[in-house]
Symmetry: C2
Subunit: 358 residues, 2 copies
């Protein structure tokens, strides 16, 4: 067996409820497969601001650097959303840890479990067989460019900026992945308007030459946002920048039936960082009804990508599949055919997955 | 009857094919209702670059300033999309005319014709009754902020910037419209990350106070991109910036069944500017199969918004409805039930609408 140190950061809102289940699944896998996973806990986001004044306390960052992988929950709080003038904000913690750990590639696999064909607002015949892997650049773009506010507070700006090396390194990762899949890559930008996108397109065109076996397509973000819903099956690997990736992957959650099903892996220089795509969802936080599957599937991604434990990762995915096949659903993925006794809260659903793991 | 000067700019690609039908419908309305519409033609985009070297020739801009309204087709060409290093680009023409004419508010109504319930990739029960009016800010944001490329060409940037007055004036327009509708306004931004969005949210919160009868909601762009597909009926008026509006309205075309159905009105200081949401669509240009309904519905918007001719505008919309009810479809809105003889090209479809107008 292997020995790994995992940092767990539940964060805000439903992060507190679902992340426990990602961790329990990792523990169960360790036991079943005779690995040794040791867990530490860290704090980040609104909860960290309340406790320490900092969205990302130094202590958490230290622990993060020393861990082999990180399981994260969610970030954000309505208080800050309602008051845009607040200076210290939860999201700064997430952005800082991404930057500090060099997590420049955010992988977001979008794949529908057959059992959830009915849960989506999109027609089953459009969805069946859709399988997309997003590569979202995660440490550049307008997220990290200089922010300014004039003294009279009447003008505000953010710099959308990309450097050649930033585009190159994530493009290579995306092309490598495309090679192991259906060998199609769609790069999304707004090169008809934005200079940063024109650089993006130039660099992707160059990198594309190194991968003549992969079919490359360039698409404008507005068109991509439409095509994703019109014909999701046309996509294999999608490569895009930080902002466009944020938007497209949330939108793509409808392909998977619900946001509550989607996991993501952020990788780069060293430690991998795993988190659900969903946010802190304050409207349902504390009610025990959040879907724990995205956190559990984030744990599966960790096993695969950071630890190279493919069998273990598949075991987790199969357990989720089995749970869905047995008819169990959290509210977000229930549909009109779901029988009453089969709609569960977070803990009951998590427990079913654990059962199916053994 | 009224007397109006209309500038027609077909532009690039299918713009050349569909805009003729918007104009024919305007002519027919003039005749039926005893108005006097005089038409001039202008050039813009790739066709203008080929002819004059300029994406927006001075002559076109002159004519635009002197006209009461403008009917525009589409812009763009694959040549420029494939070569991001070209300095003179068709889209610069469109951006320049928007800026020069002060067209800061882009209205994009998204409403499904009942007859097209089946044409969408989204389930009919999710769509039925959806009716959204987008207000997209059109002369600010990262579209117009300073663009830079370093001398070594390895770094590129665009400034995402908003001024208070820009947000204020479009927010007011959107609130006024909400008052005449279901009295709900959703403002979309990314205030958890972007300073420009935080200014946006502050200003909308202030303007909201002047409209206590309208229910205001603030939503992050990633969430909005998801909600739009998950539950389009929750939206009434959506207010957003230039870039986010570009993305969301293209995505929303799936609510209307096809991009080929959507018209838009750009208004501001004086002359109104009317155009389909779809682009130049070079893959189908010259084949005579493009859907002319978006151009025809753009003409309907012109009659209503620029000329205040509501009866005439309704007459056009009814003619489109009647055509769809008779079963006629262009390729993009055909579905598996459409009988063969009812699938038409651009001109046959346009002619059917003209027939139904009389
Ligand atoms: C919380 C927020 C800063 C974050 C982002 O925009 O990156 C989230 O939406 C995500 O996608 O991980
Ligand atoms: C052609 C392009 C510059 C334009 C835009 O991005 O504004 C188009 O997509 C639109 O939505 O009108």
């Amino acid at each position: 067996g292997v020995s790994k140190k995992i940092l767990v950061i539940p964060g805000d809102g439903i992060g507190q409820e679902v992340t426990a289940w990602g961790q329990k699944v990792l523990s169960a896998i360790a036991q079943n497969f005779k690995h040794e996973f040791t867990f530490e806990e860290g704090t980040m986001g609104h909860v960290a601001i309340e406790a320490t004044g900092q969205p990302l306390p130094d202590e958490t960052l230290e622990k993060a650097r020393k861990s082999d992988a990180i399981l994260f929950g969610a970030i954000g709080h309505a208080k800050y959303d309602n008051d845009p003038t607040l200076k210290v904000r939860p999201e700064q913690g997430l952005l800082k840890i991404r930057k500090e750990l060099g997590l420049y590639a955010n992988l977001r696999p979008i794949k529908l479990f057959d059992e959830l064909l009915e849960a989506s607002s999109i027609k089953p015949e459009i969805l069946r067989g859709a399988d997309i892997l997003f590569f979202r650049e995660l440490t550049g773009d307008v997220y990290f460019g200089e922010k300014k506010r004039t003294e009279d507070r009447n003008t505000a700006s953010d710099l959308m900026i990309y450097h050649r090396y930033e585009v190159e390194r994530i493009a290579r990762k995306a092309y490598e992945a495309a090679r192991t899949r259906r060998k199609k890559l769609c790069s999304v930008d707004k090169a008809n308007v934005l200079e940063a996108s024109r650089l993006w397109r130039e660099v992707v065109q160059e990198v594309a030459k190194e991968y003549p076996d992969v079919e490359t397509e360039h698409m404008f973000i507005d068109n991509a946002a439409m095509q994703l819903i019109k014909d999701p099956k046309r996509f294999d690997v999608v490569l895009t920048g930080n902002l466009f990736g944020d938007i497209l992957t949330d939108e793509a959650s409808q392909i998977a039936g619900s946001m509550g099903m989607l996991a993501s892996a952020s990788v780069g220089d060293s430690t991998g960082f795993y988190e659900p795509i969903h946010g802190s969802a304050h409207d349902i936080a504390g009610k025990g009804i959040a879907n724990p599957l995205a956190s559990i599937l984030s744990a599966a991604l960790m096993l695969d990508i950071s630890f190279g434990l493919k069998t273990e990762s598949q075991r987790v995915i199969k357990a989720v599949e089995a749970t869905l096949r047995q008819g169990f659903r959290t509210m977000d993925i229930a549909n009109k055919h779901t029988e009453n006794g089969f709609i569960m809260g977070t803990d009951a659903m998590g427990a079913k997955v654990l059962e199916n793991l053994n």
